[in-house]
């Protein structure tokens, strides 16, 4: 046991916790003012819902003793046996309980990311049921495959330092399923030729949220080293540099493409960079990180534009930023990873190991398919039983009033 490592991971857990309210502000600023509280609430309430589920059975399913390389068993239900003693397969230097509570924060923010896709139209009660089901049968198994002791993608050698696959691709593709099943917001008609304008009501709030996400992400990525040392420092540096680069490349691309550099573009670029560096953070050097950020900023910007042509209404661009950014990050990890940075990691294509790229592709492909198919079925079933959307009248009045009976701003 190492007190420095324990302190570091506990502080990292607190940083990752702050990302969920940060995400709430990031999303909340982008919706119209009549939906600001409903959007914030769909993130904040997950601290409660997933936090409790995690302690009851989530942690056991995701990280508990392996069953068929697919899921953990129920030995650790109610956190039985998850205490002061380190669990050596995950970390030899921090209490098992510290690892568990750190992972709890990841389990909370991942479903929260999806909420951007259905913003401004989803029914709160159905949302809660969906989240319980999705956490249980999508997040927990996928986390087990990639991170759990005995998980099949971990055994395969897939590199995912802090959750590009488990968190971002997983949530991002579920967001696509949500947008497809749910259909567009009332009045949504794509490129400005529609009757209604979906203008963000408070971009300063969005930028504040992006700042909190960036700050918290140091806990997410550097904390994933699970020890206070050189690897954490390397992941921290890579995280920051990739994000800086993605801010520049997103804003630069839109400046060239549309004539103006935007604040929303800068905030979005930051998140795209953070997403893309997540799988790579502990495996790549600082210059590789800058390249990953530059690529992510450009590709995610183009992916966000593409949704209009593809015709689905992913309200807050969860697919374009998190799914596409996650895929970019996972694949570039297969190019730029090097054992010079992390001897316990692997080498990518540019460091003499072309096979890694294939393994990354398998992990990406399997996660895309599994999460999309299961999420799609969940949405269809809930649509037929509880109904996914509020009524058209409630949608027009705004979800703050219809779902929560309060308003964000009063005179």
């Amino acid at each position: 046991m190492n007190p420095a490592d324990t302190a570091f991971v506990l502080v990292s857990a607190a940083l990752v916790m702050l990302m969920t309210p940060g995400l709430a502000l990031f999303y909340g600023g982008m919706v119209r003012s009549k939906n600001v509280l409903a959007t914030i609430m769909q993130n904040f309430i997950l601290l409660g819902v997933v936090g409790v589920l995690w302690a009851i059975y989530g942690y056991s399913l995701a990280f508990g003793p392996d069953v068929g390389h697919f899921i953990g068993n129920l030995d650790w239900v109610g956190l039985a046996g998850v205490g002061a003693e380190p669990f050596k397969a995950y970390s030899e230097t921090i209490p098992h309980q510290t690892f568990m509570i750190y992972q709890a924060m990841f389990a909370i923010i991942t479903p929260a990311l999806i909420t951007g896709a259905w913003a401004e139209r989803m029914k709160f009660s159905t949302f809660l049921v969906f989240m319980v089901l999705w956490s249980t049968i999508v997040y927990n198994p996928v986390a087990h495959w990639v991170w759990g002791d005995g998980g099949w993608l971990k055994n395969l050698g897939a590199l995912d330092f802090a959750g590009g696959t488990v968190v971002h691709i997983n949530a991002g593709i579920a967001a696509l399923a949500a947008a497809l099943v749910m259909g567009p917001r009332k009045g949504y008609a794509g490129y400005g030729n529609g009757a209604e304008a979906f203008i963000p009501h408070n971009l300063p709030m969005t930028v504040l949220g992006a700042g909190l996400l960036w700050f918290g992400w140091f806990g997410f990525n550097a904390g994933s080293a699970l020890a206070a040392g050189a690897l954490a420092s390397s992941a921290f540096t890579a995280t920051h540099l990739a994000t800086c680069a993605a801010v520049l490349s997103w804003v630069g691309t839109e400046w060239i493409a549309r004539g103006k550099p935007t604040t929303l573009g800068a905030a979005s670029g930051a998140v795209a960079g953070l997403v893309a560096i997540t799988p790579a953070a502990g495996y790549v050097g600082p210059m590789s990180a800058i390249i990953i950020g530059l690529v992510a900023g450009i590709i995610c910007y183009l992916a966000v534009l593409a949704k209009v042509k593809l015709g689905y209404d992913d309200s807050l661009d969860v697919v374009g930023v998190h799914c596409v950014g996650g895929v970019v990050g996972a694949m570039l990890t297969g190019l730029f990873a090097t054992k010079l940075v992390n001897p316990a990691g692997g080498d990518g294509l540019f460091f003499g190991n072309p096979g890694q790229l294939w393994i990354q592709a398998v992990a990406v492909g399997v996660t895309l398919i599994y999460s999309f198919v299961v999420s799609f079925i969940l949405f269809k079933v809930l649509d037929a039983t509880m109904g996914l959307r509020v009524t058209p009248e409630e949608e027009m009045a705004g979800l703050d009033i219809s779902e929560h009976q309060e308003t964000g701003y009063s005179m």
Binding site: G192, A197, P200, R258, K260, T262, L264, Y301, L305, V308
Partner: protein, 112 residues
Amino acid sequence: MKKIEAIIQPFKLEPVKEALHGLSVQGMTVTEVKGFGRQKGIREVYRGMEYQVDFLPKVKIEIVAPADKVKIIVDTIVEKARTGRIGDGKIFVYPVAEVIRIRTGETGESAV
């Protein structure tokens, strides 16, 4: 008595207010409003999505004054609020039937 209603550019509120203070105008009411005139609105872009924004932010000033002071007040507002570009706004002058000060019940010009 007349009511002068001026719709001006928000950033012109301060110079207009200062100049009207100089004329010893008794009081004014200011409201943040939105609207459009012949110039119509502007286009805004969010994550590549372009929207036509028809209503632009303006400030509405309302002043009630004796009829003989209307000309100098209007001239002052025109002078101070003008940039010479489209979107400078408009001034409307209306007759006022009655004024009542709520605190004392006074009516007419002394209540202004």
